[in-house]
Structures are given as C-alpha cells and as structure tokens.
Amino acid sequence: MSPEITLAAGEASQHRPLIITLFAIFVAATLVITVWAGRQTKSAADFYAGGRQFTAFQNGLAVSGDYMSAASFLGIAGAIALFGYDGFLYSIGFLVAWLVALLLVAEPLRNSGRYTMGDVLAYRMRQRPVRTAAGTSTIVVSIFYLLAQMAGAGVLVSLLLGITTDAGKIGIVALVGVLMIVYVTIGGMKGTTWVQMVKACLLIAGALLLTFLVLLKFNFNISDLLGKAASNSGKGSAFLNPGLKYGATGTTKLDFISLGIALVLGTAGLPHILIRFYTVPTAKAARKSVIWAIGLIGAFYLMTLALGFGAAALIKPDEIIASNKAGNTAAPLLALHLGGVDSNWGAILLATISAVAFATILAVVAGLTLASSSSFAHDIYANVIKRGKATEKQEMAAARYATVGIGAVSIVLGALARDLNVAGLVALAFAVAASANLPTILYSLFWKRFTTSGALWSIYGGLVAAVGLVLFSPVVSGKPTSMFPDVDFHWFPLENPGIISIPVGFLLGWLGTILSKEEPDTGKYAELEVRSLTGTGAH
C-alpha cells in the first residue's frame, strides 16, 4: 500500500522522464524569450528597467512572479500541511505588507528614481557614501534571499528527480545558477520580466487546478476539509488553531511577533521588488501594478490554504515528513495523491506541479540576481567608482560582469549550503530589508530634516543589527535545527531579529540626523518631494 512513502526513492525516479521533459520545455521556452528580449535590449533603461514599457497588468503579474517564491508555494503549503493554522500566518504577513508598498513607497519611488533603490536613497544626499551603503544592503538582502532559493532548489529538484548523490545536488545548483546568469545577462530586465510573467501564470494555473481538485474531493465543503485535515493530522482541533508551531513557550511567541513585524515591514524594502516599479511608464501604472499584485498574490495565498489543508487531509503526516522534514514536498505529493498514486494522472500531475516549482525557483533567482547586479553596476560602479562618469555602455558591461560574479558566488554558496537548514533565510531577508532599507526610504521621502549621516546610520545600523543578531541566534548555532548544530555561540534567543533590529534602524536614522551638524539640502528635498508626488521630470 505504501511503497510511495519516499517520493525521492520510489515514485520520482519512475516519473523522472516526464518531469525532466516538462523542465526542459520550460527552460527552452524561457531561453527563447530571453534571446528575443536580449535582441531588443539596447540602452541602459532597457537592461535595468525593461524599457519602462510594460503595462500595469503585465508588471503586476511579474511582481507576483518575483514575490511568490518556492518558499511561498512549497513552503507555506508544507507548513500548513504539517502545522495547520500556523502555516497560514506567513501568508497573512506577506500579503498585508503590500499595503506599505502601495501607500508609501511604489509611486514616489517610480517618480523619483531611475534604476535602483539607491537612486531614491541618495537623491538628496552625498552620492558616494549613500550609494555605497544602498548597494551594500541591496546585495546583502538579495544574497540572503538568493542563498535560500539556491539551496532550496538543490534539495527540491533533487527530491523531485530522485537524485540522491552529492554530485547530483551540486549539479542542480550549478544548473540553476548558470540558467539565471543566462537569463539576466542576455535578457536583462525585459527578459526577466517575461520569464516572471510566464512563471506567474503557470504557478497560478497549477494552484487553481490543485485547489479545484481538493475542493472537488470534499464537495466544496470547506468545513469537511478542515475537519478531515484536523483528524488526519493526529492533532485534532489544535491543528485549526494558532500555536502548534509558535505557541510552545513565551520565547517562541515573542519570536512570532518578531517574525510578523519583519514580514509586514520587509516587502517594501526588498530591492528586487522595488526595481520592478521602474518597468512601467508612470507612477499611476506602478500603483495599478501593486493593486494587481495584491489581488493575484492574495488569491494565490488563499489557494495555498486549500493545498496545505488538502495535503493534511489526504496524506498521512508521516509520509509528508518522510519525503521532506520541512514539508516542502507536500504540494507535489498532494498532486500525486489527487491524480491517483498508481495512475498515469497522478504521474502527470506530479510532474506538472514539479515543473511549476522549478519554474518558480528559476524566475525568482533571476529577479534577485538582476536586482543585485543592477545595484552593483549603477550604484557602486557608475556612481561611486566612476563618480557618475561611466558611459551607458560601460555601465551595462559592468552589470553583466556583476551578474556572472553574483551567479558564481551564489552557485558556490548554494552548493556549500546544500545540507544546511536555510529555510529561515527568506524571513531573515525580510528582516534585513525592514531594518536597513525601509527606515531610510521612508525618512528620505517624508522627513525634511533627514541627512546623509542619518541615512548612513539607518542603513548600516539596521543592517549590522539584523545580521548580527541572526549570527548569534539559534538560526546559526546551538540547536538541532541550526545551520551549524554542532557548535553553540548563540546568546540572542529569537530566530527573527526584527523586533529589535527594525526599531534600531528607525532610531539610528533619527539619531544620526539630529546628532550631526550637517544641514539638510533643502533645495534637493524640494526637488525630491515635488517629483515624488507629481512625477515632474520622471523618466
């Protein structure tokens, strides 16, 4: 009855040809798009901002594609399948966070910047120090995020393809890395945006199909679905309540608050999301793309609820855990079960959902690589090293070299981290973004007195506080679930630093400003404020 217990060993290898075929079709299609987009990529605005000619809906789709990482799709569905209600908490923070971007950040950013987050942060400040800081935090946030995706990709794809050898896993990480380098260097923002759109459509279609099949099994009676999930999980009604994952002790509860704050404030400081707003012609289109994204992402998270509880109701928890301890393969397993474990339909559904997951990973890593190489080329190379005197050609060449460099670094890190527990890194990227980037963005846009030293204090202060606390947290050492379980140098009790590091970022930005004797550049602030609200002179 249950030879399928390990998806890796039994089922997957027999479905491998089909899964590989679908992967290959996706890769081929995206490469065609990339080459096509690359032919149209001539200017820096093409490379960094896709020519600024995407419509609000297209960009809304692409934003959703950038945002709905494998961590959202597989991670949230898996967390719900194993921990019930607590898995759902992530998606709420991830969604509500978009309102910060909508109300405070997207439009002013589109109106006053050109290519990167640093454009806005450095607008009225001394260029070189602030650009260096903005570039540093962009690259740190993106690498955190990238590492989680790369290591996840290695584990996941190996699992789906039934690869168990170390060499095989490293090969997968390298393949993902090489593909993302190709997407970004050749296709630039235009190619990456189209890849995101294709991926978003596939992901939403895949989730819709599974949700429909789950609900069909329960005759569209949600109460029955929940009841069956609760009883099958073996945890009873506690499964439908908050607390299974975060409710154990006072510390875990505090950790949950910290995570919640980081999620809700992090999105509007994620560089790979922010640069998406430059791909549309106007601030109004940027606003509409956020609204589309809120609708699409919200609908998607509602579907993950059905997938997670569906997996909990239809699959034995032991089987989910045996396949992947964190539940990351719950969604593909659900597909297999919905189609029928020993039938062709099961195999086809499993292969389809696996290919969707693969597409998701590829698209997200491409977006992250683009954000960090753009920031390196535009903020650090062109404005710090070349002091604003680089030609457009030099700047684009720098961006392409940076892409290869960042790709290579993430292949190495991803390969090294393949057996570490990196699932939490995405939440940490949110915490760093909320601590270092968001305070600086908000002060820059809305606080007249804010100065260069304030900006440097909030970026570096938030960055050091967030990364430092993580380093000495149980995420890195001291627990069986840590990255390095065999050593223990942790003294900070929480896994997420947000509750401390975000206030620190805001506080330091304020302190750095009031303590410095520097006079704010009021003329530049007039420019920034008028531009950000009216779009005067926007590119």
Partner: protein, 118 residues
C-alpha cells in the same frame, strides 16, 4: 546616445530649476496635494499595522477566543485570518479610488505646468 549617464539629480530631460521646485513646494496647491496624500496614507498605514498586530497578538495569547467555532469546523481564528485578506483587498481598492479622485488631478496639474513652463 552614450551620454545619458548620471549624476541622476542634475538637470536631465530639462528638469525645472531648483528654485522652481522650491516655489512649487511652498505653493498652496502643492501643500494641498501633500496633505491629501499624507492624510490618507499615514493614518491608514497606522490603522492596518495596528489591526495586523492585534491579530498577531490574538493568535499568541487568546487561544480560547480563537478556538470558538463559528460554523462547523470554521473557527474565529480562520475568520480573522480571512478578514486580514479582506481588509487588505478593501484598502487597496479604496486607495485606488481615492488617489484617482483626489491625488491624480492635483499632481497632473502641477506636473504639466512645471514641464510645460520649463
């Protein structure tokens, strides 16, 4: 073609002069636009963050309340979670309407005057 490089803040695309920006910034018309944006965005941001934190705290510290069944196996916890989705959608829709009615006309008027007159 290859000369369109930063510094990103200096006059490009015939940006109006700093003096013009300062004049506009001090004008009553711009003050109205700024307050129309801030009087919406700031309180609503505070409100949805407080509402979200309230939900987080309820999840943590109000087990019995969250466990209350509403219909069948659907409990208050699920209803409140879905309510977060609903309020997010509603605020997005509300802001779309508000900005189209109150912000865009004012912003566009200022922009076209500044760019036209430059």
């Amino acid at each position: 073609m290859a000369t369109e490089t930063p510094p990103p803040s200096k006059a490009e695309h015939q940006l109006p002069s700093t003096e013009e920006f300062e004049q506009v910034q001090e004008s009553a018309e711009f003050a109205e636009l700024r307050s129309a944006h801030r009087s919406f965005a700031f309180p609503v941001t505070v409100a949805f963050i407080v509402w979200y934190l309230l939900y987080v705290l309820l999840c943590n510290y109000a087990d019995d309340f969250m466990d209350t069944k509403v219909v069948g196996n659907i409990n208050i916890a699920l209803v409140l979670g879905l309510a977060q989705f609903l309020t997010t959608f509603l605020i997005a829709w509300w802001y779309a309407r508000y900005s189209a009615a109150k912000l865009d006309p004012k912003g566009e008027a200022i922009k076209s005057r500044m760019e036209g007159g430059a």
